[in-house]
């Protein structure tokens, strides 16, 4: 089970790296075409924005661990183990409920967007925005899993500040 999860996470990471590489390459193509061939193209900027949106939500859903995300862990870090687990249960339950109750309306919004297409690549917007649904369901599943751990009195790993994700 753990091995499969680890394998999937590494593949998710491959996908994320590929998305960033595509974004980078699209920018270079765009600059080359505009300034060397004097031929502005629009699809590259659309592609870069799509990659940005997907990279962030895909990553938040499948790649990042909780302790890599930007968090305020001063209080939870100072608390005792039992308190920290209790905090984790409250926070996890809240996130499952809040993402859960907004899921139907979110589904309606995303499917409603089928009426629109992106300007250059002509991709249906409900497909482009479907990453949010994937993200929301993954977040709910992840926090249910974390809740199950917390309820059995286990807690996930500690944060590593040298891998702090803030871009500051």
């Amino acid at each position: 089970m753990r091995a499969i999860a680890g394998w999937l996470r590494r593949r998710a990471e491959n996908v994320a790296a590929a998305m960033l590489a595509v974004m980078f390459a699209a920018f270079i193509i765009q600059i080359v075409f505009r300034y060397f061939f004097n031929f502005p193209i629009g699809w590259t900027s659309e592609l870069t924005v799509i990659m940005w949106l997907w990279l962030v939500l895909w990553g938040a859903a499948f790649v990042l661990k909780e302790n890599e995300e930007i968090r305020f862990d001063l209080l939870s870090g100072a608390a005792g183990r039992r308190t920290r687990i209790a905090m984790g249960i409250v926070a996890g339950a809240a996130i499952v409920i809040l993402y859960g109750i907004s899921l139907p309306a979110t589904y309606d919004y995303v499917t409603f967007m089928k009426v629109e297409k992106s300007s250059y690549l002509k991709i249906r917007m409900d497909w482009l925005f479907s990453i949010y649904l994937i993200f929301a369901i993954a977040v709910i599943a992840r926090y249910l899993w974390l809740l199950a751990h917390f309820l059995r009195g286990k807690e996930p790993g500690e944060a590593d500040p040298t891998r702090a994700g803030s871009g500051l």
Binding site: L20, F27, T48, T106
Partner: protein
């Protein structure tokens, strides 16, 4: 705006969930959903705001690209050459290596937009160099690296200034120019502090590099030194947009490391992509959460209410800046900088505009302030990072960082009260403000 109102409850939920250790991005999305639910509004609005906000914020794409550029540089040997160059310049003075640390940060700042990238890139190397043979104490070396890394995002390019450009609708080009003098000023006060204490603390002098070696050392560092020239050249000649300039910088860093220095291979490129992607995701999630929550703040009309309130008290622009500085410094002790920039600063912006505070000046003041927050205890990301890299106790690090904090707050005051320091360069390039 009572605590029992939907907005009050939403804020309470966000604060509580964040304190309980939930990622702040999720806490903001969750709190906003709670607000929509309590107000009886369409809960799909959270997704709508997030998706449209991310999809239309083209300027944000500069962030992953600047991160990528810094990663490419860190994984090659550019940093070593840069350090040798800095050592040849300032190593001969008392406290030479400490001065090298600051000069290296100033130069690296003109290639990277992130303080954490600077500390991660040069931190380990500087720590080893400075503590070898007991030259400096480990805690002083770590404190200095933390303090000098702060210069990174003040001198352009700068990730926080890109974020500020997003929330304030201000030109990135002018913001970047406005950061140059404040960044150099902070470097100068740090070097001044080192020079002033060098004799008393008996800091060592490095073996002077003969001046005839200088051309060779410079030549070897040249491709790295050219990077800011290329980057700023792209930006200010108008050849590329800021986002494209970031892509150009990343490409240049990649080519310089791969072809000129021959110091990175495919494996390193992949590693740089993964690291950059991870940083992008986590900062992106925070941006996503802020986009949703800022919608709630706008619906509630908070910024305008605050502006009207402060205007009614006839606050002077300087009085406002002073208050804003105090608020941001205090918040910076407890909150993560990106959160302050994306949530608190937008609330203050309409007041700044109503009082006639220049938005570019305000942006630089806010960013310098937030960067100082990275080294203020108890919550300072750079402190945490250096504790891990240098393996020193937090309390020793905090004690050594205090003098730096003091001179940097002095520099912040100067930047706040003399707007011309900030605005002189942008005006020279045509900024009307």
């Amino acid at each position: 705006m009572s605590l029992a109102s939907p907005f009050g409850l939403a804020v309470l939920a966000i604060v509580a969930l964040s304190l309980f250790g939930l990622p702040i991005g999720h806490a903001m999305i969750g709190g906003s959903v709670l607000y929509l639910a309590l107000k009886g509004l369409d809960m799909g609005t959270a997704a709508e705001q997030l998706l449209n906000g991310m999809y239309t914020s083209y300027v944000l794409l500069a962030i992953p690209l600047f991160i990528l550029a810094a990663e490419f540089m860190n994984s090659g040997s550019i940093m070593d050459r840069l350090l040798r160059f800095c050592n040849a310049l300032v190593g001969r003075f008392r406290g030479g290596l400490a001065q090298v640390n600051v000069v290296q940060s100033i130069i690296f700042a003109s290639m990277s937009g992130s303080a954490l990238a600077d500390a991660a890139g040069s931190g380990k190397l500087m720590q080893t160099l400075m503590t070898k043979d007991g030259k400096y104490t480990a805690s002083f070396a770590a404190a200095l690296t933390a303090a000098s890394s702060v210069i990174g995002p003040i001198i352009p390019p700068s990730i926080p200034l890109v974020l500020y450009a997003l929330v304030s609708d201000t030109s990135i080009g002018f913001l970047f120019l406005a950061g140059v003098v404040p960044g150099l000023l902070i470097g100068a006060v740090q070097m001044g502090l080192i020079a002033a204490t060098a004799r008393r603390r008996n800091f060592p002098v490095e073996a002077p590099v003969p001046l005839r070696e200088l051309p060779r050392v410079t030549w070897e560092a040249l491709p790295a030194l050219l990077m800011p020239v290329i980057l700023l050249g792209c930006l200010y000649s108008g050849v590329t947009t800021p986002t494209e300039a970031a892509a150009t910088a990343a490409l240049y860093a990649l080519l310089a490391s791969a072809l000129i220095y021959r110091s990175i291979g495919w494996g390193d490129v992949y590693k740089s992509l993964v690291t950059s992607a991870r940083i992008t995701m986590s900062i992106g999630m925070l941006i996503a959460g802020a986009l949703v929550f800022n919608y709630v703040i706008t619906v509630e009309n908070i910024p305008r209410t605050l502006a009207a309130l402060l205007k009614a008290h006839e606050l002077s622009p300087l009085g406002f800046l002073l208050l804003a500085n105090l608020l941001l410094l205090v918040l910076g002790c407890f909150l993560e900088g990106t959160t302050i920039l994306l949530v608190i600063v937008p609330v203050l912006l309409p007041t700044a505009a109503a009082l006639g505070v220049d938005p570019v000046h305000f942006g630089v003041v806010a960013v310098v302030n937030i960067m100082i927050g990275l080294i203020t205890p108890p919550y300072g990301l750079l402190l945490f990072m250096m504790v891990r890299i240098a393996d020193v106790p937090l309390k020793d690090l905090v004690r050594e960082v205090m003098p730096f904090l003091a001179v940097m707050i002095g520099a912040l005051a100067l930047i706040t009260f003399v707007p011309d320091l900030v605005l002189f360069l942008p005006r020279l390039m045509g900024y009307r403000g």
